[in-house]
């Protein structure tokens, strides 16, 4: 026991600040990320990279998502930030404005990186004033995961082109009513339907600008901010009102959508995964990064359907991560090598074929599709939307914080305790203050 304790203490020697003398010319880079599942794929890619570059070692550091932005910021101001780190769009604008990310434009030119291989919307999302701050490496769209077993039981299949109108009519609403059942088995079209005893809701959409209402307001032409890097919000436009009311009022009143009170704090959807697993939701609107969670948490076969078509067409919110290059890195040459590798077809093929993410290189998308087909889930709905109309996740300094405030302020509208227009006005005021002062 004593020997064990001693060994334990010795093994923690590095923890006491005794650094081992470095070897020759090997450089060790730190690479930060937050997802433990994707980390497996990235490790495989890094292993290949290290074989090609024997003088570069890469340490992957996992930082929990809830503290990710804060930790990177704190480390940056004390000079200890990782050399490369994942950057998500809520804080992209802030990081660019504060000079944390390196402008890669000259490096891209010098290394002749082919930017046309990536989705052009991703390149635009991560550019500002002609400078680009990361090589796109993945993308996400939003679609409807559905419970195949439940729909089969009702002899329903999801039609291809469901649509909705601003006044609440359309094939989408009709289908939702067919797919909502109460505890006695009546669907919402039946006169015996009992709205206080609903067994399964047809649809779950959460109070979220990306995986939830963001898509519906986009389908009516509404925008959270009028243009990228805007310092004010555009939440009080008629289009925003129409899109939000369709969900929070029309569909809620029709009892076909999970009410805000059941979906989670401020209707944020925290309970929806459990409800979906227990068969209380037929179609769960979410982003494709949830596929692994969905698969490992349910016991029934799952299908994926595209979003319905709105007055302006079918639109999905589009997002993608980049690997930010620390502007204060001690090893700019090696860091650029790693950045290039992660943006290259070889690396993205590893990640795509392992089913970890949709690669940002358009031609590699089929790899991801094939992986999930083998697992029994058809992901083509996400791809269809990526090739259709998409609207980029909003980019602006402080937008992450602004969106959190907006979601909180919209909560009462989803809970039915406030009219949608009032909630949007409050959200607008709070968002304006944050965007103005960020």
């Amino acid at each position: 026991m004593i020997i064990g304790a001693a060994l334990m203490l010795l093994s923690g020697c590095a923890g006491w600040g005794f650094s081992s003398p470095g070897g020759g010319k090997t450089v060790t880079l730190t690479y930060a990320l937050w997802d433990p599942h994707e980390q497996v794929g990235y490790q495989q890619s890094i292993n290949e990279f290290e074989k090609l570059h024997p003088d570069i070692k890469v340490d992957i550091e996992n930082i929990p998502y809830g503290s990710y932005e804060q930790k990177i910021t704190a480390e940056f101001i004390t000079g200890g930030a990782p050399d490369l780190f994942w950057v998500n769009t809520p804080w992209l604008g802030t990081f660019i404005k504060d000079g944390i990310l390196t402008d890669l434009t000259p490096l891209i030119k010098a290394s002749h990186v082919d930017m046309s291989q990536y989705y052009p919307q991703l390149v635009a999302m991560h550019s500002r004033n002609g400078k680009i701050y990361g090589l796109p490496k993945d993308w996400d769209t939003i679609a409807l995961y559905y419970n195949k077993a439940y729909l089969n039981k009702l002899h329903l299949t999801v039609p291809d082109n469901l649509s909705w109108n601003a006044d609440g009519t359309g094939s989408f609403v009709t289908f939702l009513k067919e797919a909502t059942t109460d505890t006695s088995g009546h669907n919402a079209l039946s006169p015996q339907f009992n709205p206080s005893k609903i067994a399964t809701y047809a649809l779950a959409v959460n109070n979220d600008p990306q995986g939830g209402w963001g898509n519906y307001v986009a389908e009516v032409g509404g925008k959270v901010i009028p243009y990228p890097y805007a310092s004010y919000a555009s939440l009080t436009t008629p289009q925003m009102n129409v899109g939000m009311s369709f969900l929070a009022k029309t569909l809620t009143d029709a009892h076909v959508i999970v009410p805000g009170t059941l979906s989670g704090p401020n209707a944020n959807g925290a309970n929806l995964q459990q409800m979906f697993s227990q068969g209380q939701v037929a179609m769960w609107e979410q982003g494709d990064w949830n596929t692994l969670s969905v698969k490992s948490s349910v016991t029934f076969p799952v299908g994926v359907a595209t979003l319905p078509i709105g007055p302006n067409g079918r639109v999905s919110v589009f997002n993608g991560l980049i690997d930010g290059l620390n502007s204060h890195t001690r090893y700019p040459r090696q860091a650029w090598e790693l950045e290039q590798w992660l943006g290259s077809p070889r690396s993205q093929a590893i990640l795509g074929s392992g089913g970890y993410v949709w690669p940002a290189i358009k031609s590699l998308d089929p790899l991801f599709l094939q992986y999930w087909k083998k697992q029994g889930i058809d992901m083509s709905a996400f791809l269809t939307e990526a090739h259709g109309q998409v609207v980029n996740f909003p980019v602006s300094p402080g937008i992450g914080d602004a969106l959190t405030e907006i979601v909180n302020d919209l909560g009462p509208a989803w809970l039915g305790t406030e009219p949608v227009s009032t909630a949007l006005q409050t959200a607008q005021n709070d968002a304006n203050y944050i965007l103005r002062t960020s």
Binding site: P36, W289, T299
Partner: protein, 296 residues
Amino acid sequence: MTSVATAAPAATAAATTERTTRAGRSVRTTLFYLLLVVIALIFITPYLFSVFAAFKPLNSILAQSPWRPPTPPTLDNFKTIFTQYDFGRYLANTLIVTVILTAGQVTFSMMGAYAFARMSFPGRDPLFWLYLTTLMVPNIVTLVPLYVLFAHSHLLNTYWAIFLPYVLGVPYSVFLMRQYFMTIPKEVMEAARLDGCSESRILWRIVVPISRPIIITATLLAFVFGWNNFMWPLIVTNSNSLNVLTVGIANFNSNFGVQWNLVLAGSLVALVPMVILFAIFQKHIVNSISLSGINR
């Protein structure tokens, strides 16, 4: 007033009371045990559900009611956290820093508490109020300057960083033990001083033995605090090899899919040493030398 003088009348009084309320006694006993069971149920039931969940795969946790026992129970979650996530190392890290933190904190807080309680020196009361007021500032924001201080001292990402802010004694412990020390009659210290005892001896040979309940309490509090501390270790360590338990458990969540099965398995593993520790020491808080034994 010794107990001998009161023994005789007390004995007869007790005998009478006993005869007349024998039935009352068994009612009281039943009530007592009923209350005990109710209290035990209230406090253990939520635990039970988290224990069940630790032995279920993720889809069972989500698909079933939480109060269904795992059928059959699986050890996979535990296997995963120890093999895929290095949980053993997190345990070791947490143990090292918590033991050091506790030893230092209790010892130095105790010395400070004794000084405030039973020694006189200029500025004693204002200084004590200074200690108290530091408790009233939410420590969320003080984390930022503290972090910067540690960064400039090149102490980041070391064990030192994790326990240093707490190991020299903290106002909470000082306050706790000072209250207790102040109920020890002054004459005890005065007598010892007249006998030529140094303050050190008074503290260690006289005060500590009769203060066992509060010192054990302070030790347990310090240990639990160090064991469950989250925000500070999170921001002050970089490499995952220095993770403590709380940070390790937080890492089981990817952004959009909480791995409840792993979180609860990890929390259960983190809980077991705490329960063992507490079970061993809690009787010292209840059975102790009563201070009334000291002559008045």
